[in-house]
């Protein structure tokens, strides 16, 4: 009885702490994402003095668009990410891409260095140009709502 009780207690303690740990990391991710959005908002105000805030619906349209300047292999963001950002995507080389939707992948858009790297690559591939801060903020706002 006594020999089994201690491990059980330890397991129970760990299980009890897990939800709290997960909640804490999700909150940290949300704070990091908000900092990145603030970074882009400051840039957006420089791009457009009348900038009022980011728009999830504009981000959705940006995600689903098929820009004329797209490279043939990547006509749209949704080519690799699918039209539903909660889905797993797939690269052209067959590798799975974790969902872009924040509700499914809470760590999305929490590392500015990584976010900038992928916007630079993917905007060049899909839009044939760098994205504006407004476009980046709209995109992240849409994904955070998904």
């Amino acid at each position: 009885m006594r020999r089994g009780a201690l491990p059980s207690l330890a397991v129970a303690a760990v299980l009890g702490l897990l939800p709290a740990a997960v909640a804490a990391s999700v909150a940290q991710y949300a704070a990091a994402r908000q900092a990145i959005l603030s970074h882009y908002a400051a840039e957006a105000r420089r791009e457009d003095p009348n900038f009022k805030g980011f728009s999830a619906s504009a981000g959705q349209a940006f995600f689903l668009a098929h820009p004329a300047a797209a490279r043939p292999a990547t006509p749209s963001c949704s080519t690799c990410h699918t039209t539903n950002p909660r889905n797993w995507g797939m690269t052209r080389a067959g590798k799975r891409i974790a969902p872009v939707a924040v509700s499914v992948t809470p760590s999305r858009f929490t590392d500015l260095h990584k976010v900038e790297l992928w916007f630079r690559r993917n905007c060049n591939s899909v839009y044939g140009r760098p994205c504006t801060a407004i476009e980046k903020g709209d995109y992240i706002t849409f994904m955070a709502s998904q």
Binding site: A73, A93, G94, K95, R96, S107, R120, R121
Partner: protein
């Protein structure tokens, strides 16, 4: 033709041994952003080690982090030198990351001390293949699965580029993916 299978088997064994040794450095890939070191951490790491990590995390985010032993150094120079136009996509890295990936791949190329002459068999000295699937040895080993349509030289789930579809050990960053694949030969 009778000695083909024997030669193929030897080459495959060598290649797989190389792959197996190499795979130990693979990172979990795109789904694990926490494993990505900060630029400062990267600078602090020794060049070769940093190159291996950048290669696995950056290149491995989109495709199998192909063993550098499967292409000659001249191929890696051509590929890493043109990453902003990488098979139709912009895969550009920062100048620092690009340099460390170049350092790592060239140091481990087929014609380096990590490589083996068998991998280069049949390759013209002036040929610079940009795809492992254009290596004569790869074609020989995979001719049956190409002919039967099990793998495709195009894009998508059965793309030959997706080594892990058949070679279980090459799978990375695919939590929850089916583990039913066979390891050929």
């Amino acid at each position: 033709m009778m000695r083909e299978p024997c030669l193929g088997l030897r080459i495959a064994t060598l290649a797989l041994a190389g792959v197996a040794a190499w795979l130990t450095v693979l990172s979990p890939g795109i789904a694990a952003p926490a494993a990505t070191p900060s630029p400062a951490q990267r600078e602090a790491a020794p060049a070769a080690e940093a190159g291996a990590h950048v290669y696995a995390s950056q290149c491995g985010a989109c495709h199998t982090a192909y063993p550098p032993e499967l292409l000659p150094a001249r191929s890696w120079r051509a590929i890493i030198g043109n990453l902003t136009r990488h098979f139709g996509e912009d895969a550009g890295l920062s100048p620092g990351d690009s340099a460390s990936v170049l350092h790592y791949t060239v140091a481990h190329a087929a014609d380096s001390s990590f490589g083996s002459p068998q991998i280069l068999a049949g390759l013209a000295p002036n040929a610079t293949p940009l795809r492992i699937t254009d290596m004569p040895v790869w074609r020989t080993i995979h001719q049956q699965v190409i002919a039967s349509g099990q793998i495709s030289l195009g894009t998508g789930a059965n793309a030959a580029a997706n080594c892990g579809r058949c070679h279980v050990a090459a799978r990375t960053g695919e939590s929850g993916a089916g583990e039913t694949g066979k390891s050929p030969r």
